[in-house]
Subunit: 390 residues, 2 copies
């Protein structure tokens, strides 16, 4: 795949991870307008702290992105900040731009200071390999326990011109409820002002990545960055509707890929809680279901054990009348008005055996709703996480 | 083990579960003063609904307890209530007491109506087998995925007389955050008025079972019942301090057994969050850590991956300054004032390899604290829960 006009990328091995590419570089040839959303975790990794401040200082300008896997550089105090600053300084020299136009991102083990010399030693190599087709190498260099790379593209019409969006992401971890770091970088040739870009991103993230991580339930490093090179040459006053739709679509596709690639995951639960009195109630209920190990293991086993779903809703803190609750899995209604229906076990089992398991819980008390994607919990998750660091 | 004076118990096979005892009976020969705490889940099982109402009507009198495993009789609507009522009516006939003095409890799969005929068919058999030593049979008849029975005893001095407490419990499930049903029945020969008994129980539960399930985070059937036969013959005005201490001790011992017997558990994390500004902050942080699959799998692997612990605290919603956080595992301080210490990996690994893993997180911002017990998450948990119903 090729990047939108104005961007080049690369991915190399810097030796932070054993025998796997672990250093990615994105350069916007003539710079780019940028907008980002970051983790709400109180522990914010050094690269998050620096990138957030830099973006504010520049008013939304990014020239290059340096991203590494293998080390999150989080909860590393002053030392971690200094290491990240050294990377930033070296990148600014190589790319030839102000330091604040360097955007940093890291993913990997928490509590270990970034081995910045490995990064700076290999930055010239990454710079030399930059190309429009380098997005594939980039997509590999940012992975941790991900099974495979995640790339998506979309096109849009803006001010009468046809533009492109290309996004890369990494996720894994079980994402939900304990996100491993989620990183996403979206590049476009559109010409969009920073404030408008931020608004479009915020909306796209709310309807995609935030439906897998749920408010604030984020790791120390989560970052979603969108960069617009402006090479499309559209008027900045052009109607952004189609661009925003395409941005949302690409974010949803990447979010789906992240959930599907949850550690050890074999199925995705597409969960909707509707009929809630307030959005908060809907989110509480959806969160309780999506994070329940009992529900996630039942999904893993393809077992339509819906009692676990309702038990999770009942303890979630959401307010509702148990006599009005209904629950369905795909076309099969399992519970209506708080009572089990005469459904056939075989029909329910069929839905739970799918790769996508659609579950709808209707609280029967209002109009608020919440959508969440979650994956199953299987043996591979335990194997991957019981000894992740060794 | 023998029950305190005034009680007899039994356990038999009624055919609800395959080839395992599943029906327990406790009878207080001359009745007992009783107090109970129930699940806060909005979905309350039929036996919970009936027992709660009955206890209120009688002002705290119980003659007999009928408990079954294999079917929770929860989310079963009117049919489930009718089934439970038929069990209650038959038990009242057999034991010869008012229906409201029959206390019901069930545990097992949610969403299936209790096969009450199996219960009523075997109640006479259970009645015939009642004995003071029947507590062992009882302790087996209430189990589901528990590895083994849970019995504890304690003694106390009340009004100058030496009395006894005997408790049986069942737990399993991962308990936390999705309790499988937790049931506990405690019997004593003490003579205690219902209101005083309820106060003592409330305090004991707050310091034991509620430290494994955390506020409201309960299944549809959770029940803790204490019954006092009064056979000790003490004055009701006697000082309850030693009795309360013994009751708390027995509840703590049963709670510990429940966590240790968490499905697939090999270790218990003894977690303390201190230095919080408010108790709510302490509980939020403790809850986030104790329920984190990433933390629980790390504990399973004996891996001192403390970054996952702090990441959980950071997203918990608790308010604190990241620069003041300290974390230790047993005698090893891993993080001080938000920065990793120069601890030896070997020393940390030793603590995480214990059967009891003591973790202290100090938020450095106040005097509130919270204690929680949690177990690790391993392959056996997945195996047990991916196909629990078959």
């Amino acid at each position: 795949m090729r990047l939108p006009r104005g961007f080049a990328a690369s991915g190399v091995r810097a030796g932070i991870r054993k025998k796997r590419p672990d250093l990615g570089l994105i350069v916007a040839e003539d710079g780019a307008t940028a907008a980002a959303v970051f983790t709400k975790n109180l522990f914010q990794a050094a690269p998050v702290v620096l990138s957030k401040a830099a973006l504010k200082k520049t008013g939304g300008r990014v020239k290059a992105v340096v991203v590494n896997a293998g080390c999150a550089n989080a909860v590393t105090g002053r030392e971690g900040l200094e290491a990240a600053k050294r990377v930033r300084a070296r990148a600014a020299e190589i790319v030839n731009c102000p330091q604040d136009e360097i955007f940093l991102a890291s993913t990997g083990v928490i509590g270990v200071v970034l081995p910045d010399k490995k990064v700076t030693d290999f930055l010239p190599d990454a710079f030399a390999r930059l190309s429009s087709g380098g997005v594939d190498a980039l997509s590999h260099a940012i992975l941790t326990t991900d099974v495979g790379p995640k790339i998506a593209q979309a096109s849009f019409t803006l001010g009468g011109k046809r533009g492109r969006l290309v996004g890369v992401a990494k996720g894994a971890g079980m994402i939900h409820p304990n996100m491993a770091t989620m990183l996403a970088f979206v590049m476009t040739d559109a010409n969009v002002a920073p404030a408008a870009l931020q608004r479009a991103l915020k909306q796209a993230v709310d309807r995609s990545f935030n439906s897998i991580s749920v408010d604030g339930d984020t790791s120390t490093n989560d970052t979603v960055l969108v960069m617009a090179s402006g090479k499309l040459g559209n008027e900045t006053k052009a109607d952004l509707a189609d661009f925003s739709r395409a941005l949302e679509s690409i974010c949803r596709e990447l979010a789906w890929m992240i959930v599907r690639d949850g550690e050890g995951a074999t199925r995705v639960m597409e969960l909707e809680v509707r009929g809630a009195r307030t959005e908060r109630d809907a989110r509480l209920a959806a969160h309780a279901i999506a994070t329940s190990p009992l529900v996630k293991t039942a999904i893993h086993g393809g077992d339509p054990n819906w009692g676990r779903i309702l038990a999770a809703v009942g303890r979630s803190g959401a307010r509702f009348s148990t006599k009005r609750v209904s629950l369905s899995a795909g076309p099969v209604t399992l519970v209506r008005d708080g009572q089990p229906t005469a459904y056939k076990e075989k029909d329910a089992a069929k839905v739970f055996a799918r790769e996508r398991v659609p579950i709808v819980v209707d609280l029967g008390g209002g109009n608020a709703s919440a959508l969440v994607l979650s994956c199953d919990l299987g043996h591979d998750y335990v194997s991957l996480n019981a000894d992740y660091r060794s």
